[in-house]
Amino acid sequence: MTNTETRSVVVEREMPHPPEKLWRALTQPHLIEEWLMKNDFAPVVGHRFNLRGDWGGVLDCEVLAIEPNKALSYTWNFKHADTAFDLQSVVTFTLTPTRTGTLLRMEQTGFRPEQKQAFGGAHAGWKQFFAKLEELVARAD
């Protein structure tokens, strides 16, 4: 494994809604806020915006690509003095119509293999983290 190699996270889910409706939820700021984070998104390539998490973290983003009702891509960067926490990644949403709705695919790329730490994960995922920790601790005994 080389240091330049990056990892990605893929999450897919089929939703019983048409792509046009999902597209609105992905691109209208007041709707984005309802499921993702507070934001000043605009569906314009090159537009720079911030996503603000409940935990106080602010992500620097820039729209990279837009294909209405099909695909949306933006940067998802988090500046941190500690390189373990510093993150430069790209999030791409792809919408594929299915017989009963839409397959939504999210791919986030850019994690460096040596970078196992998380900024938001540590906050957003506290509950899961402690549940997992308890499991691990139980198994370690």
Binding site: V9, L22, E34, L104, M106, Q117, A118, A124, W126
Partner: protein, 109 residues
Amino acid sequence: MPMPTTRDVLFKTLADPTRRAIFERLCRQGEQTVGALTAQAGISQPAVSKHLGVLKQAGLVRDRHEGRQTHYSAQLGALAPLIDWTSEMAGFWQKKFDDLEDLLKRMDQ
């Protein structure tokens, strides 16, 4: 016997439910005095201080003296060896997709 790793120390330190509860409280509520922590912990102040000492040795908390009071705060960075970025982010997105589905249902109305 192999030398205990950082992970081992962190697991051992957080395996105690009372100690973990103190640490979680510091994570969620920010800096606290020993007195404030004792009031919520349901154990004696010396017991709370002992747990804080163990957390401090593991690098999970930092103390700050101000007058007679000692304030403790969580050091989230110390958890880094336990956290895997990719699985944490996958969990993050799964949760966000749940919220998105809830929103889509509401948009029908």
